[in-house]
Amino acid sequence: MLKDITLGQYFPIDSVLHRLDPRFKIIFTMLFIIMLFAGNSVWTLVLSAVFVLMAQFLSKIPLKMSWRSIRPLLPVLVFTAILNLLLIDSGEVVWEWQFLHIYEGGITTSIFMIARIVLLMVGSSLLTYTTSPILLTDAIEALLSPLKRIRFPVHEMAMMMSIALRFIPTLLEETDKIISAQKARGAALDSGGIRERVRALLPILVPLFVSAFRRAEELATAMECRCYRGGEGRTRLRQLKAGVGDHIGLGVCLVFLGASICVNFLKL
C-alpha cells in the first residue's frame, strides 16, 4: 500500500537533458529562477516561457508529468489570485459590486503571479525529473564543497541525504508491517474522530522509531567495518564530468538571463 509512493520524481528515460552534468543542471535551474524574477515586463515572462518549453522539449518529459507538478498547487494559485484581484488597488477600476472592487493593477499582478509560479514549478521539476536522487546528492555535495573551508559539514550532509533516500523504502515497508500487526491486534486505525485517529497512530510511531534507531546503530557499525571515516581522502566510483553540452547549456542560460535583464532595463 505505502510502497506505491514513488521515490523522488526521477523519470528514467534517455534525453539530452538527462545526460547533462547534474552540477550544471542545478546551476541552470538557479539561473532560470533569477531570470524569472529579474524583471517585471511581459518580455521576461515570454523569455522564461520559451526557455522552459525548450528545456521541456529537450528532456522528452511528457507534458502530462509537468501538469502533475502544477496540479497540487492549483488551490493555492486560485486563492492567491483572488486575493490579489480584490486587494490591489492601482490603476483604473474595471469592475465593482457593492464593496468589491477590481482594479487593472490587480488583474495584471494576478496574471504575472500565476505565470511565474507555473513556470517556476515546471522549470524546476524538470531538474528532479531528469536527475536521479543520487546524482542530485553528488552534485549538491560538489557545488557546496567550497563551504568546507568554513567547516560546513558538506560531506556529512550529502551522506545523510543519501542514507535517508536509501532507507525510505525500508522504513515504509516496516510501517506497513507494523500497521498490519497493530490491526491484527484490533487497533482501529480508520475509524473514529480525528482525536482517536491521531491517538491510534502512537502504537505505530513508537515501534517505528525504536526500530529506526536500532537500524541506525547497526548501520553505523557496518559502515565502520567498511572503513568509513568521513569525507577526507575519500574517492568516488562515479566522477562528475562536464562535457561540451554542459558548456553550451550554460551559454544559452546566460544569453537568456542577459536578454531578460536587458528588456527589463530598457523598460520594453
Binding site: 543519501s162 523504502p169 547497526e218 567495518c225 567498511r226 572503513c227 574517492t235 566510483l237 562515479r238
Partner: protein, 286 residues
C-alpha cells in the same frame, strides 16, 4: 602455517554505567588460532559469546584482558584500526542494515571509496566482487528491489571489494528463507575455495557448521569443543548438554547405533549417511 587470527587469553565484559554492578563476563580467557585459508564455523546458542568474539576480530571490540592479533597486528593498536578492518571484513545478520547506498554497485563501491582507491580501480573491484557473488546483472538495481538472499550477497560483495584476507560472517543466513540461505552459503564456500579467503562463520545452524573444515563450539564465554565437524558432531550427548542439536543425519545414525546397528559415528552429511546405510543393508540379508 601462519596464523590469520591469534587470540591470546582474551577476556571481555560489556562496559556498564558507573554505579551499576559490573556486567557478566562474556568471554572468559579464550585462546584460539585460526589458520590462513581455513573455513571455521563458530557454534553456540544465544548468549554463548560467539558474536562478541566475532566483533573482536575486526576491532569493533577490544579485549579487556589478553591480546587479539589479526595477521600479526594487535587489535588494540588504534593506529592500525583501518588496516585491520580492511583485512578482516565483517558481514552481519540483517542485510538491510548494512547496505548504505541506493544502488547496488554504489554500495559495493562504498568500502573502496572509503579506502581512497582510484575510480578506475574501484570500477574493476566492484565488477569483480559482484561477479563473485553472482549479482553482476543486478548492479544497477535498488536494494529494495532485491530478495533477502540477494541483499545479503550484495553485502558480501561490499566486503569483498575491500579485498580482505578474512571474512567474518555473523549469522548471515538467520533472516533468510531456505533458498536465500543456500545462495549465500554457496557464495561463502566459493570465496573460501576459489579465492582462498579465510572464512569465520558464526552460526547456530548445524547444517551450516557441517560445511566448515573446523567447528569451534562456545558456551558461556568459553570454547568447549574445537575440532573437525565429524569429531564435534559425533559427540551427540555433549552437544545436547550444551543445548545444541546435531545435523539430522548425525542424529539418525546416533539413534541407530544406540539400537545396536554398526554404523560409523562420524557422519554429518546426507551422502555419507546414505553410503553408510547402503553398506549396512547390503551386509544384512533382508
Amino acid at each position: 602455517m601462519e596464523h590469520m587470527i591469534e587470540a591470546k587469553h582474551i577476556t571481555f565484559r560489556y562496559p556498564v554505567d558507573e554505579g551499576q554492578p559490573a556486567g557478566e563476563t562474556v568471554l572468559k580467557d579464550i585462546s584460539l588460532h585460526i589458520e590462513k585459508g581455513s573455513f571455521v564455523a563458530v557454534l553456540g546458542h544465544n548468549g554463548s559469546g560467539k558474536s562478541t568474539f566475532a566483533k573482536h576480530i575486526n576491532a569493533i571490540l577490544v579485549p579487556e584482558e589478553g591480546k587479539m592479533f589479526v595477521e600479526g597486528i594487535d587489535t588494540s593498536d588504534e593506529s592500525r584500526l583501518f588496516d585491520i578492518r580492511q583485512k578482516a571484513g565483517m558481514v552481519f545478520q540483517d542485510p538491510d542494515n548494512q547496505i548504505v547506498a541506493t544502488v547496488v554497485e554504489e554500495d559495493v563501491a562504498f568500502a573502496p571509496e572509503n579506502l581512497g582507491v582510484p575510480p578506475a580501480e574501484i570500477r574493476s573491484r566492484v565488477d569483480n566482487a559482484l561477479r563473485t557473488v553472482n549479482m553482476y546483472d543486478y548492479r544497477s538495481h535498488a536494494p529494495s528491489q532485491l530478495s533477502g538472499g540477494q541483499k545479503q550477497r550484495v553485502a558480501i560483495a561490499g566486503v569483498i571489494a575491500m579485498q580482505p584476507d578474512l571474512i567474518v560472517l555473523d549469522e548471515p543466513t538467520a533472516m533468510l528463507d531456505p533458498q536465500g540461505r543456500e545462495e549465500v552459503l554457496e557464495a561463502i564456500r566459493r570465496l573460501n575455495r576459489e579465492k582462498g579467503i579465510t572464512v569465520v562463520l558464526i552460526t547456530h545452524y548445524m547444517e551450516e557448521a557441517a560445511l566448515a573444515d573446523r567447528v569451534v563450539v562456545m558456551d558461556s564465554g568459553v570454547v568447549v569443543l574445537d575440532d573437525t565437524p565429524h569429531k564435534v558432531f559425533a559427540q551427540v550427548e555433549k552437544m545436547r548438554s550444551l543445548g545444541l542439536d546435531v545435523p539430522q543425519v548425525t542424529e539418525l545414525v546416533y539413534e541407530l547405533r544406540k539400537e545396536g546397528f554398526s554404523l560409523p559415528a562420524e557422519i554429518i552429511s546426507e551422502t555419507e549417511c546414505l553410503d553408510a546405510l547402503a553398506a549396512l543393508l547390503e551386509i544384512k540379508p533382508i
